[in-house]
Amino acid sequence: MLHLKLGRVGCLLTRRAMVALTDSGARLSTHGHHEVSDQLDMSQPIYSDRPDTPLPDRPWKDVLDATDKSLKQKEKGPWSALSKEEKIALYRLKFNHTYPEMKRPSQEWKTVIGGMFFVFGFTGLVVFWQGLYVYPPQPPTFGEDWQAKQVQRMLDMRINPIEGFSAKWDYEKKQWK
C-alpha cells in the first residue's frame, strides 16, 4: 500500500502526502548486513519511536564502530565519569528521537484539510456539471407566469384564510399585508 502510493507522481497532494508519509513509521538504521530491498525485515526486532513504548525492541544503532564500543565500555563504569556529550552520544546510540522530537507537531493537518476542501470543490464542480448536463428540463410549473397564476388561484380559493397563506393577503387593497 505504501509503495503503491509512493509510485504515483504529478499531483501536489501526493507530493505533500509523500512528505508526510516519510516522517512517520519505523525506520531502518545502520544495520549489519546490506539490505537488498527497502522492505523492513519483519522477522527481526524492529526499532520504533513511540511515546507509549519507551524502550523499543532493539537499539537504534546496532553496528558500533571503535569509538562507540569504547564509549560502551566506559558506560560500564560510574556514570558520573561521563561528560554531557558522552551521555548524549550514548542516548543517541540507543534511541533515534527524543520524546520532544517524536512528539513534534507535523504539518500534516494542512494537507488533510486542504485535501478535504479540494474534494469538496471537485464535488461542487461535479454537481454543477450535473445541473447542466444531467438534469431534465425544468417543469413549466416553475415559470414566473405560472407561479403568479398559481398564487392568484390560491388566493381565490382562500387557502388558509385564518392564519396561513390568504390571511397574509389584504383583499381590499389587493396587496400583501
Partner: protein
C-alpha cells in the same frame, strides 16, 4: 467533537496514509454536520458493578513493581517489558518504582534507558506539569548517586 476525533485519529494512526485520513475526516464532518449530537448515556457512578475479586491497593501495586525491577539479575528484556507495560498503565509511576527501574538500568550498564525512563514518566504526566518536578525532586539522591543526568540537564527536553 470533530477536533477530538481528529486528535485521537492522528495519534493512534501513525501508519495510516494521508488519503485515508482525508476520506475519514470527511465522513466525520458529514456525520457531525447534522448537528444532532446525542450525548452518550453514562451509567451513574453509584450503580457501577465491580467484580467480586480482591482489588489490589496502590501500595500493593507499587510494591509489586518495585520488586519486579529490584531483581538483582534482571535482564534487558525484562527491563524493557516492565517499562513498556508500566507506561501502558493509566498512571504516573511512583518515585520508588522509577528509582527501582533506574537502579535496574545501572545493573544493566544502560544509561540511555535511564534517561529514556525519565522522559517517559514526564510524558505520562501529560498536562499536569507539577508531577515531573516532584518526581525529579524525589529522585534527586538516586540521580546524583548513580550519575544520571536528567534530559533537561543534557538539553534534550527542547526540540
Amino acid at each position: 467533537m470533530c477536533l477530538e476525533q481528529y486528535i485521537i485519529f492522528t495519534t493512534y494512526n501513525n501508519h495510516v496514509d494521508v488519503f485515508s485520513k482525508i476520506i475519514c475526516m470527511m465522513f466525520l464532518y458529514v456525520h457531525f454536520s447534522g448537528a444532532r449530537m446525542v450525548l452518550l448515556p453514562r451509567a451513574p457512578l453509584a450503580s457501577r458493578c465491580y467484580s467480586h475479586s480482591k482489588v489490589e491497593t496502590d501500595e500493593e501495586f507499587d510494591a509489586r513493581w518495585v520488586t519486579y525491577f529490584s531483581k538483582p539479575d534482571i535482564d534487558a528484556w525484562e527491563l524493557k517489558k516492565g517499562m513498556n507495560t508500566l507506561i501502558g498503565y493509566d498512571l504516573v509511576p511512583e518515585p520508588k518504582i522509577v528509582d527501582s527501574a533506574l537502579r535496574a538500568c545501572r545493573r544493566l550498564n544502560d544509561l540511555a534507558s535511564a534517561i529514556r525512563i525519565l522522559e517517559a514518566v514526564k510524558d505520562k504526566s501529560g498536562p499536569h506539569k507539577d508531577i515531573y518536578p516532584y518526581l525529579i525532586q524525589e529522585l534527586k539522591p538516586t540521580l546524583t548517586e548513580l550519575g544520571i543526568s536528567t534530559p533537561e540537564e543534557l538539553g534534550m527536553d527542547k526540540l
